[in-house]
Point group: C2
Chain length 296, copies 2
């Protein structure tokens, strides 16, 4: 397995100004795996319940799930977005089978060259990392909850990662500065070669030693549900890297654009709706739009 | 006079997390004129009091002030910025001599080919526009106050302008949508050929018929005082257009970058402090940085 992802599989209830859905497939691992699947077939390390519907299992077919345990009830998240849809508001979180999750990598996952530690408890991220044997290129994502409640473990994972992704709110929270340029540099100071700050509609910033890249946001007129857009971004990013096997800053710039494109498709529909419609050629079309919108 | 600007001259008291200044030179016309002065010497239509210090008058030497009346007390603004410095909070506004301002264009201003209607009462903007005789290329800026209190007059000016600039908050407020891409298109629907939405640290969006440009923000680590950055942006933008005499979308993209650069210098110091230090070669250096940070 070239690319391994650890993250959650969930059943979500989501309400946005554009509608309401119940028990749809979600979770950071699911969104990330689907994002990566446009470029390579990733292996997912996660846990889900026996209650996952046939349809949901079918959606997961683009991902190798031999690293997924099925046990009890699936992790459940309930949330909503206000008018401006900038931030998810959590109404309820039920860990269910995720509570006792002890990740075990199948043997063919251990030699992965690319590892994405998607948003999940940082102690689980550390455990997965420790089971790999081939010094993978490690991309890390997290969320405000772990910054507030598991800062020490999270800092350990950051130090062992090659590329760390945070959104702008998380970066400001972690580094206690309103200035994102400062926050990005402070993130690099912790050890990773690359730091990315996602800014939603405003694009993303990529920091590395002596270089800086500012990716525009894709000009979306319709955002229906931003859930999972960040996971899709990072999943597509590492999927593109795993496919091209090139971790240079120049190639990571391209990966950021592919990540932004997949995230833009994800936000245009509820849950993983986009994954049933979008093709690689749709993605390449938006890549060309990206080239046109930033030339001067 | 190739470029004429109408806007305010003010004396400002400003407090930011980085310091506090009193009775410094400010006003939309002043900031815009200074921004434009890197490219052409603009003529300013405005009013100030007899209380403007010698030093302040000296600062204004880069601008032709034969269109400025001096009478009574100068317009005064007092405001502050919170920790994140995203939006100015007004503590006090004293109109003073601005209250009775009736703009009269000197004869040599009337044939201007470029006109910047900087932030001021839209009825004054309309009056200045009506005194021009040479169908100038009109750039318009405004603020939340006029959107809330003079929407009709403002809409009239928008319809007579070639390029309208709003910041993201103003655009959302005017068009009652959180989506900036929609807001930009709605602005174009009112008549102007070009619409720009400024997003502060996140850059700027340029809309025109069938084309879209997303300019990155300059990666500033130190923002001391954002006052006047927006006026400087638009002033430098129209100054560059007036110098190059090319109103094509391709050239306006470049003008957006020059505007962003001058705005970035402006925000690094209080009041017009930057204008005493920054040269055209400093500006060209940041232009090269802009080219590097958006390549992929």
């Amino acid at each position: 397995m070239n690319l391994v992802i650890v993250g959650t599989i969930g059943l979500d209830d989501v309400e946005t100004p554009f509608g309401k859905v119940s028990s749809v497939l979600g979770g950071s691992g699911t969104y990330a795996g689907m994002g990566a699947s446009f470029f390579v077939k990733p292996g997912l390390v996660s846990i889900a319940g026996d209650d996952l519907s046939k349809e949901h299992r079918k959606t997961l077919e683009k991902i190798d799930i031999s690293g997924v345990s099925f046990l009890g009830k699936t992790f459940h998240w309930e949330g909503f977005y206000e008018f401006d849809m900038n931030e998810a508001q959590t109404k309820k979180t039920e860990l269910n089978s995720l509570a006792g999750f002890k990740p075990v990598l199948p043997d063919n996952y251990k030699e992965a060259k690319y590892l994405f530690l998607a948003n999940i408890d940082p102690t689980i991220q550390l455990e997965v990392l420790s089971q790999t044997s081939n010094k993978p290129f490690v991309v890390l994502d997290t969320m405000n909850y772990w910054i507030a409640n598991a800062r020490e473990a999270l800092t350990s994972v950051i130090k062992k990662s090659n590329l760390v992704v945070m959104n702008e709110g998380e970066a400001r929270q972690f580094f206690k500065t309103p200035n994102l340029i400062k926050a990005g540099k402070m993130l690099l100071d912790l050890g990773p070669e690359y730091a990315i700050i996602k800014k939603g509609e405003h694009g993303a910033l990529l920091f590395s030693d002596g270089r800086f890249f500012s990716a525009p946001g894709y000009p979306l007129e319709e955002v229906k549900d931003p859930t999972g857009a960040g996971d899709s971004f990072a999943g597509a990013l590492i999927g593109y890297l795993a496919k091209t096997k090139d971790n240079s800053e120049t190639n990571i710039r391209k990966a950021v654009i592919y990540g932004s494109i997949v995230a833009s498709f994800c936000a245009e529909d509820f849950s993983l709706g986009y994954s049933k419609k979008v093709t690689l050629s749709d993605i390449e079309e938006r890549y060309r739009v990206f080239q046109q919108i930033r030339n001067f």
